[in-house]
Amino acid sequence: MKPTIVFILLFASFSTAFSAGNKGKIEVPLRFDRYYNYNEVITALQVLHEAYPDLTKLEVVGKSEENRDIYALTINNQKTGEEQSKPGVYVDGNIHGNEVQAGEVCLYYANMLLTKYGENEKITQVVDNNAHYIIPVVNVDGRYHFFEDAHTPSSSRSIRVPKDDDGDGLFDEDSPDDLDGDGSITQMRIKDPFGNYKVDPEDERILVRTKPHEKGEYTLLGYEGIDNDGDGKLNEDAEGYLDPNRNWGFNWQPPYVQRGAGNFPFSGVGLKAVNEWIGKRPNIIIGFAFHNSGGMWLRVPAEESTSIPQEDVAAYDVIGKNALKITPGYVYMPSYQLYPTYGDFDGQLYFVFGIFAFTGELFQRESETYRENANKPGQQEDRGDNTERNREQLQFNDNVTQGELYKKWEKYNHPVYGEVEIGGWVKMSSRLPHPFMLPELVHRNASVVLLAAANTPEISMEIFDVKEVENNLHQVRVRLKNKNGLPSMSKESVNKNIHRQDILKISGGKVVAGGKINDIRLNKVDYKEKKPEVQFLSVPGYGNVEYQFLIEGKSEITVEYESLKAKNLKTSVKL
């Protein structure tokens, strides 16, 4: 970095317009008309934990590349049972360092569960019935730098493992530079009579492409910056790039197949710690990872060559189709339809841990409206020409956010290009809602997590038929019923032997035969050949399974149901 730039950085104001000013003390209930930087997220978690010590546990999952702590908040009501005896709900966010509002969704979810516990019936139920595991910020280094340093809305996304992106033997040596010292990396443009852009006559901030044979006014020079390494290219080797959502174990592919994969699975140490932490909680059955942007609920699989059983698609739909209504305008689809990925988080959760995993892509820029009837679509956009839309967005900026999202083009004397202009959408724009829109976003998305939690398996067991079929031989029938939409384990887990199946176990009597009832009216039973007293099974969502046992002798028998992901049950009957 040139000394002049250091000078500018040292003496200029860093903060963007709306992060300036008093954000208020961090206290319970948390406020969501603001963003929390990395340290403030920790404080927010601490105040929640201090306010609800009986319901929460705050722990450090592991350290990041730059030695920052990755925190997890566990919400569990000890009075209703041990954490791992209940279906687990996992929520994380901000695995991409720049996608910060994902952290606020996690904080909001925690804040909502805790502050409304005992007041709202639905919330009280999920706090009592489930264990909630919340990691608001996975990429702690990314979030830290996103707030502290100058960035575009899309940078500081990577895990902080240096990579030589431009193949010159140096690592991360040519990042964009905040030349005008405003805390954002925006665009550079230069006056150029042979340029292929001209200003929009209605709004001179907008550049539109010239038509053939039309005289140009500007050339776009890309992101704000200088050629730090003097190789004739600008900003071509910024931090990373190791994409934290391509570095997980399942179906991982090397970086030459997929950029950003990292050299090997879990080469990111923070990710490795998070993975191990999840692995130690086999009760987790549903998982959410929040990202931005676009407004999407994405499910597995992440690439077309893998497929998942129809039963699991149906279970996903229970959540996904309702989520669409809670977050209007979002789409719900398998993530390969967006683009194929390998080694992503959702795949690891679903294929390795048997967890129904969703990616929530937060925020739709279309919601930044400046028009009379917000329900009507804005001006139709021609392919490749967004001028109308750009005008509206700028008017939204000017009149709804008081100019906080856009940096006006201003002259700057560039060491290589000479006089240029710097301006454009600031760091806290484009992919992030303005703070005034944040409360609705966090609430709606946290409500989807709540809906999923309310749909985790709730199994009841009954011995519904006991009769003596012969002298000294009893027929005992057991029914396991699931009142919720998610099964007690995914079909994929059953088919691929991913983890231990649910167990139905009879003790206290000699089980001569036992098996699943396939047709109760015709008394068709699929008797298990060996060890009939132990049955392996799973209970489908909104469904039931029935088992029949033939038991010799007259005694009190005990029936136990054990599940990794649903609550264990026990009952007994005297024959």
Partner: protein, 670 residues
């Protein structure tokens, strides 16, 4: 100049061959070293050469054993390195000995450690490797990682059981009406699958020796451990195998190894001692599902950007042109780049360019072994497994990856006495009836006997049939050869033949446990028997030393093929006005290119940079210029346009993680 002198000295060293490769210390290779003993040997080697060596502990196995790497050449800076790993599956103890032997060779003679660093890892899978030294042996390949293989309520509850008490887990054959196997008629020790099309009906079921400990109807399905380190690296990671773990690197050994190797970008070649042998048999191709880089469709999300039709198939050259349009002018676009940008997928077959050197070296290796009177008529080494270390090294690191199998069993030589002038089947088939009959009864008798004719065929009978026109020599030969093939079908296959012969010759028959009835809780008629574990790949300890001495030096010799990049010469042209053209000739004096084709494809090997420093202005060209790919024995020219009025001395320097820095002082403007 200094460099040249250095090379001259090195060349001098090439003439020196150690008399005994194990001269200096008292470590001997007449036994197999248990995992703790291996650590002892490493320590001994390290302490005996402390200036030169260092032991790195890179992981701890779930069983609590260290995974260690012996670095030879810790005193060397800026030199290429060779990584040697052995016995990843834990069931080939001789490969661990090989790694130790190699370390000793390197420390006994300085010839291959002058400008080359070595990282030697004899025991990446210590938990499995201890299986060979246990009183109960079963060819263990997995570590102590906890895996509930049958997903029931218990862990490791149904392993093998030594029913006949011989300390070996062999096989169990059980008489069963629904059996799948029958006894091979010609060799009753061997069990073969019954072939219903030949009216064979199965009589036996085959199991591994054991009982159904957990009573679930399955035998030995959930024994101790674990993950097999030898199949859990990320290239073609076998997700469907429980013993690979659930993802690559789940086992701490694998994770630690990958971390160590990526932390050492100076590693420019990788050796694997184990079951495959890329020295002898080049890596296998022919796998489907790899990226097609010749003709392919452009994924729709890029097609629009590139003005292309997503439904059309384009040749690579055309796509390169389309990609170029999207990039700054002059950007070099290679097929590998296109594959990466468009996400065309992974390489699953060795690249043609690389197969050339693999093939050539394997031919050289065969000659080398022949010259050492080493019997190469052996059972073929196993192909590299999906998820193996050697495949990962090639496909993901992009460096030359050579594996070596130090011992396979000799084949049984076909004993067919051929006397001069003997009548062959081929010749007989071409004869006319008259000619054949004219041979006379004695000769025909002997011909029939040599060719295993059925007893009912006698010389006299054949002559009679031929004279009455019922049989021609051609028909006779056809019948005989059909009988011959049928006989062969009934004989044990080549591998069984070799194993049985080896058991007889080398182990006095103890390589095969004769089938013997045992008491089994579940079966009325069960026998235990079969090959003893480790027979196939573990020779008697007294053979180790000679096997290592013959084969390992090849791995040393192969390092002579490594690329070596330096500045060959330069040319300055004075263009006037203080403007000069500098042409720098960079040479690779090694045989192998840098990187190899796979390294060019995956872009993983670290780049070679030519760094220009001095008081000049660069009119054209960069201060740091990536050299790019350079072929073996190739010279590559780099050009700069400089401007200076001071006639300065500038320096050009090779900067690389792999190659030694080579600096050239260049006087500009005479």
């Amino acid at each position: 100049m200094i460099k040249k002198l250095y090379y001259a000295l090195l060349t001098g060293f090439l003439c020196y061959l150690p008399v005994s490769l194990f001269a200096q210390s008292d470590i001997s290779f007449n036994k197999y070293h248990s995992p703790p003993e291996v650590q002892q040997v490493l320590k001994q080697l390290q302490q005996g050469n402390s200036a030169q060596t260092e032991i790195h502990t890179i992981a701890t196995s779930p069983g609590g054993a260290p995974v260690t790497v012996l670095e030879i050449g810790k005193n060397l800076q800026d030199v290429p390195a060779v990584f040697v790993g052995a016995n990843f599956e834990g069931n080939i103890p001789i490969s661990t000995e090989g790694a130790l032997g190699l370390a000793k060779m390197l420390l006994d003679s300085s010839r291959y450690t002058k400008n080359l660093k070595w990282y030697i890892m004899p025991l990446p899978n210590p938990d499995a490797a201890k299986g060979y030294f246990n009183t109960l042996k079963y060819n263990r390949t997995v570590n102590n990682f906890e895996i509930n293989n049958d997903n029931d309520e218990a862990l490791n509850e149904d392993g093998f059981d030594d029913l006949n008490g011989d300390g070996l887990i062999t096989q169990m054959r059980v008489k069963d009406m629904q059996g799948t196997h029958i006894v091979l008629k010609s060799e009753p020790r061997i069990m073969v699958r019954a072939d219903a099309t030949k009216s064979e009906r199965g009589e036996y079921k085959i199991f591994n020796e054991g009982i159904d400990n957990d009573g679930d109807g399955k035998y030995n399905e959930d024994g101790e451990g674990g993950i097999n380190i030898g199949i859990s690296f990320p290239h073609l990671f076998p997700y469907n195998k429980k013993e690979a773990g659930q993802w690559s690197g789940q086992a701490p050994e694998v994770y630690g190894i990958m971390r160590f190797i990526f932390d050492h970008p100076n590693i420019a070649m990788v050796y694997t001692l184990g079951s495959s042998d890329f020295c002898l048999v080049p890596p296998q191709g022919g796998r489907k599902g790899g990226a097609n880089l010749q003709n392919f469709k452009i994924p729709s999300r890029y097609a629009r950007m590139m003005n292309a039709d997503p439904n059309k198939t384009y040749p690579m050259e055309e796509v390169i042109e389309k990609v170029k349009e999207l990039l700054p002018p002059g950007t070099e676009v290679t097929p590998s780049m296109v594959a990466g940008i468009l996400g065309l997928g992974a390489a699953v077959n060795p690249l043609d360019e690389d197969l050339k050197f693999y093939t050539l070296f394997s031919e050289d290796y065969k000659k080398y072994l022949k010259a050492k009177n080493f019997n190469t008529e052996r059972l073929a080494p196993a192909p590299a497994k999906d998820g193996s270390f050697e495949l990962w090294a090639y496909y993901h690191l992009g460096v030359p990856s050579f594996s070596m199998n130090l011992f396979t069993i000799p084949k049984v030589k076909e004993e067919k006495k051929k006397e001069a002038g003997e009548l062959t089947m081929e010749k007989a088939g071409e004869m006319s009836t008259e000619e054949f009959v004219a041979l006379g009864e004695t000769k025909i008798d002997s011909f029939l006997k040599t060719n295993n004719a059925p007893d009912r065929f006698s010389g006299q009978g054949v002559i009679e049939m031929m004279q009455s026109g019922k049989l021609t020599p051609k028909q006779m030969v056809e019948m005989l050869s059909k009988k011959d093939t049928d006989d062969k079908k009934d004989a044990p296959d080549e591998k069984n033949k070799a194993l049985l012969a080896w058991s007889e010759k080398e182990w006095q028959g103890k390589g095969f446990v004769p089938w013997k009835k045992i008491d089994h809780p579940d079966f009325e008629e069960a026998e235990v028997g079969g090959y003893v574990p480790y027979l196939e790949n573990t020779p008697k300890p007294e053979r180790i030393d000679s096997l290592l001495n013959i084969q390992l030096p090849w791995l040393l010799k192969l390092t002579e093929k490594m690329p070596s990049v330096s500045i060959a010469s330069e040319k300055i042209t004075d263009l006037g006005g203080g403007v000069y053209r500098l042409e720098l000739f960079v040479e690779n004096s090694g045989y192998l290119p840098y990187p190899i084709a796979m390294g060019q494809r995956n872009n993983q090997p670290s780049p070679v940079i030519v760094l220009l420093e001095g008081d000049v202005k660069l009119l054209e060209g960069l201060k740091r210029t990536p050299l790019g790919n350079i072929g073996g024995n190739q010279v590559k020219k780099l050009t700069w346009l400089l401007q200076s009025n001071k006639k300065p001395v500038i320096s050009a320097k090779i900067e690389s993680e792999v190659f030694s820095p080579d600096v050239k002082q260049i006087k500009i403007g005479g």
